[in-house]
Symmetry: C4
Subunit: 277 residues, 4 copies
Amino acid sequence: MGSFKGHALPGSFFLVAGIWWTGKYSLWHATRRNKSIGSTRLAGRSLQRRLEVIESCVVLFFSLVGMLAEQFLADGPKLQLYNFAEKHWEDLMNWQHATMYLFFGLAATVSLVLHTTEAAPLALDRLMLAVAFFNEGFLFLYHLHGRSMLDVHVHQLLLYAVFGQAIVAFLEVFHRGNIILELLRCTLTILQGSWFWEIGFVLYPPSGAEWDLKDHSNMMFVTMCYSWHLAFAMLVVSVLYCTVSCVVRSRLKRTPPMEMGLLKSRERDAESEDDVL
Amino acid sequence: MGSFKGHALPGSFFLVAGIWWTGKYSLWHATRRNKSIGSTRLAGRSLQRRLEVIESCVVLFFSLVGMLAEQFLADGPKLQLYNFAEKHWEDLMNWQHATMYLFFGLAATVSLVLHTTEAAPLALDRLMLAVAFFNEGFLFLYHLHGRSMLDVHVHQLLLYAVFGQAIVAFLEVFHRGNIILELLRCTLTILQGSWFWEIGFVLYPPSGAEWDLKDHSNMMFVTMCYSWHLAFAMLVVSVLYCTVSCVVRSRLKRTPPMEMGLLKSRERDAESEDDVL
Amino acid sequence: MGSFKGHALPGSFFLVAGIWWTGKYSLWHATRRNKSIGSTRLAGRSLQRRLEVIESCVVLFFSLVGMLAEQFLADGPKLQLYNFAEKHWEDLMNWQHATMYLFFGLAATVSLVLHTTEAAPLALDRLMLAVAFFNEGFLFLYHLHGRSMLDVHVHQLLLYAVFGQAIVAFLEVFHRGNIILELLRCTLTILQGSWFWEIGFVLYPPSGAEWDLKDHSNMMFVTMCYSWHLAFAMLVVSVLYCTVSCVVRSRLKRTPPMEMGLLKSRERDAESEDDVL
Amino acid sequence: MGSFKGHALPGSFFLVAGIWWTGKYSLWHATRRNKSIGSTRLAGRSLQRRLEVIESCVVLFFSLVGMLAEQFLADGPKLQLYNFAEKHWEDLMNWQHATMYLFFGLAATVSLVLHTTEAAPLALDRLMLAVAFFNEGFLFLYHLHGRSMLDVHVHQLLLYAVFGQAIVAFLEVFHRGNIILELLRCTLTILQGSWFWEIGFVLYPPSGAEWDLKDHSNMMFVTMCYSWHLAFAMLVVSVLYCTVSCVVRSRLKRTPPMEMGLLKSRERDAESEDDVL
């Protein structure tokens, strides 16, 4: 996966995930705040649950695709782990990436089960997410042996975002629904996504002009660049959050909260109210 | 204890402990959730307490056996700490292992006292467990001087599980009865157990084919293997949890909650209700 | 910025900020404690909000000035990041300092928005402050490559205060209004301010007598000196806190709590009571 | 202070402090648990407060004595910090020890003020204790440059206890009166005290038989020895706790809770009830 595309692809996934989560949590939060003026019409509990189920399915699908792609594309190990003929491990990098996808797949499966049945406390989905991020960081941590200085540095910076996400997701086990933690996790997800792109640009520049991987001033620039990515991620999250808040509020103002003509939809809401999310 | 058996034995103990705890906590949790339909018949408080006492006794017994075995078996120091004749310490490894058992024995003793008398707050048993795990990790941490790279690495990976257990047990002091923390601790216990087996297979392969302890790709494989053990442990815990939940629910459905014929057992329950667990 | 003035300037800002915050939080705390005897006259909620807005504006203003100064003063990069002619980065130090100011500016902007509109939960301002301090510490951490021992050491000591502030501000997200955490953060801010001055005196002594940057006893003295700065900061905070408490209590004693002649101001208070701070 | 006595002295202080705290917290806890049967006669709030004041005074006194002893005894610097004639720092070790005492003195002063006036929230005394322990650990951390391996190791082990105390004291800011945290802190205090004695015995053996400071097996023994000290400290704390609990309960059984003849003492209790501890 040592290529520009190999970094841009997961980067795009995390960017999309971060933006999607920001929208979702902003919507839930706006809904909860404006409950008194009937916002549950916009996002009732059955809708919330359906969204969670769809999200889990999508994540599960892409995890499976990712695992299969790592195994069977061009230079994959094709499920062979050890080459007994030549006595060496087969494509450990691909196996490691597949393992990372495996844990995100597990997290999605657990989330799917939690939101369709009521087998276990909901907070378990955050714990599984924390474990998936922790596992990703753990594998990256022992991934960097023998690389050049700047290569190690850009991957270490990535670990701040990854372990940050793991910690925030773990805190959410105890503070579920805290909008501040949720937005912080979204920010770190977007940061991780955009930093994957940055890694691609630094290590495999599409323009062709190679970076000097041993120059200390390059390292200082990259460090600062990480701060800028963080600022950019915060900007994206706050713009999205404000947009969603405004849209929810303006739509609620246009439609009076107690319309009798909407009885049918209200009935649906009433029954969804019984669901425990 | 530098042998295959020396790693398989504690590994088996931790595996059994992890599976036992998973069953126990799943049962308590299912009981609490289904209280309204009379599940206390299945697991009343006096039963819970009796189980805790039995568990503590078993742990205490094996700790004592472990300590005696380390001291008096074949190459043990037989309680001699310093060899004044030859001016060196006697079998420090055995002493260190005996010290680890000592702390688990202390934890079991405290738990036994807490559940028979009511001398101190119950949360103390989790603190003692945290101290026992912390002490195990602490001794392993300074255990690794001068070994080969892979040997150090597999033991360091073990520390993630050990210190993880210590932290989760410490969190349980404040969040007692949180099923998510309990299952997380069970997962880490099973992980520790299965990883002890893995260490045995890597360092003292029963097949005879030695691993190259200085090869970096071996190290990368072992790291990934740790993730797989974690996934396996999560699988075991979730299967057990679901089984116990289903069994409890199905048994409750078969037997109606308010049978008058069971008055005697209900009376026993009523009195057990007074116990403070 | 490698000069005495370059360290004295931010030092003075942090000193002023620390003293200002100490006064503010002491006043709020004294107000809350003496609510029953009418202290809201001294510091009603609308006053609190107005102060927060002014504070945010001032911080925002100085952040902007700082960023512009770093860019356009004497040896600044004048917004040029990369010198394509000579193939090197332009004044990375100045860019890094500007980035630090940027994050404090962002924190101030968010605080301003939070206290004028009610777009998001108030706790967000503490999170932004935590991020700003974390970013400062993060950039300093990778700032120290290749400097002499004492230079590295004095900057590392600074990190204790900076990361300490980040952690305390993050804790305040969950324990908002906890006077102990607030005073701890004030103490660390003053510590950071006075330590910036100390760094100036050690690395660029105005008296001209250079320090031996490789002498270990100098390092030990500097470490101890840090403790003294901490003690000094605690002294300043406690003196300020006691003064404010006494002044509030004595003023409340002089003016009886239920004066009918002050109806107008009481009306203003009543309406400010509706504000949600 | 590099002598046997120099380590035995602080060790004794911490031992006494740990035992005293264990007794105090056990008594408070037993009192609170048995409130219903009139235990407030044994330890009313005014008594609690008086004990706290006395404790603070004693700590303050010994801190002052310690500071003066470090400065003016035999080889002290006599308040001279820098020797301008020979251009070197005067007895930095003594200054560092005096600084440690200073912080414990500050903590005692704050505790004294808190328990005599009601100037600030009580939790502040735990924060000051946390700062004092943190400062002690901080100074020890940069204390060890250029010493031999075993010397560094025994001091590093000490840091576990010191930073552990700091963390537990900080947690007590939020969980005040949690008997488990209090007993944990007592255990760590006794551990620190007994370990100071151990350091004295290892580095300056009174028997004269020097230890080999570079032998790795000595280091392994010392590590295990630390675990034994911890077990010993836990034993001391639990024996003390049980003794106090039993004594309180047996005394309460002997004297019936509602004796009318003790009206005077009950009146005193009633007024002490008004105190806010």
